[in-house]
């Protein structure tokens, strides 16, 4: 079983919809949680990063962490066709230098 599980999708939504992307993890030592966006043939781009349970908001994006359930989410409000990409969650533990990624969820926002 992988340490980080993520539904690969694809997920298709109409423009303007609220999108919910999720990851679960098994290693309770993970302390830092990131969301990356990756366009085709490009490097992952850091969207949000958090280390505590609760919500963190940045524009149309909200990252949510529930450490008790080992579950993290990324919400995208008012989704746009330009949000169409693969979204990867990543986690690591302080004191290590190894990020563990989810498989990524492919999102398609239809105009």
């Amino acid at each position: 079983q992988k340490e980080v599980e993520q539904d690969p999708g694809p997920l298709s939504v109409p423009e303007g919809a609220i999108v919910s992307l999720n990851c679960t993890y098994s290693n309770s030592a993970f302390q830092y949680f990131m969301w990356y966006r990756q366009y085709s043939r490009k490097g992952p781009e850091l969207l949000m990063y958090t280390y505590s349970s609760g919500n963190k908001e940045d524009g149309r994006f909200t990252a949510q962490v529930d450490k008790s359930s080992k579950y993290i989410s990324l919400f995208i409000r008012d989704s746009q066709p330009s949000d169409s990409a693969t979204y990867l969650c990543a986690m690591f533990t302080s004191g290590t230098y190894k990020y563990i990624f989810g498989t990524g969820t492919r999102l398609k926002v239809l105009a």
Partner: protein
């Protein structure tokens, strides 16, 4: 703002050849990570360096080696290439965990696409 630079962007090699990929981290970043991403796969961690020392090792084959130099750039050396080594190789950089560094903010380069024929 300066980003992570990788070279070359594309590389075509034959089986059993060697390849060297280079990574130049964001200025003042002291930690470098290498990842391999196959088609439709998540990035698989290979190896990382902090302050020129190897800090963590993932699923890196013995045929591969890497190092970080005094200017913090890193090179990934791949020998006896196999068809299965064809992938996107990403380098990422971040500040280490010392001081008031922004832990967790890892920035990726554009990747090197390696094709082994």
């Amino acid at each position: 703002a300066a980003g992570v630079i990788q070279s070359p962007r594309h590389l075509i090699k034959e089986k059993r050849e060697t390849a060297t990929l280079k990574c130049y981290p964001i200025p003042r970043h002291d930690t470098v990570y290498w990842y391999q991403q196959g088609p439709g796969q998540d990035p698989q961690f290979l190896i990382s360096f902090y302050e020129k020392m190897q800090s963590d090792k993932g699923s890196i084959p013995d045929r591969f080696s890497a190092q970080q130099f005094s200017d913090y750039h890193s090179e990934l050396n791949m020998s006896s290439l196999e068809l299965g080594d064809s992938a996107l190789y990403f380098c990422a950089s971040s500040l280490g965990t010392s001081g008031r560094a922004k832990v967790g903010e890892q920035y990726f380069g554009p990747g090197t696409r390696l094709t082994v024929t």
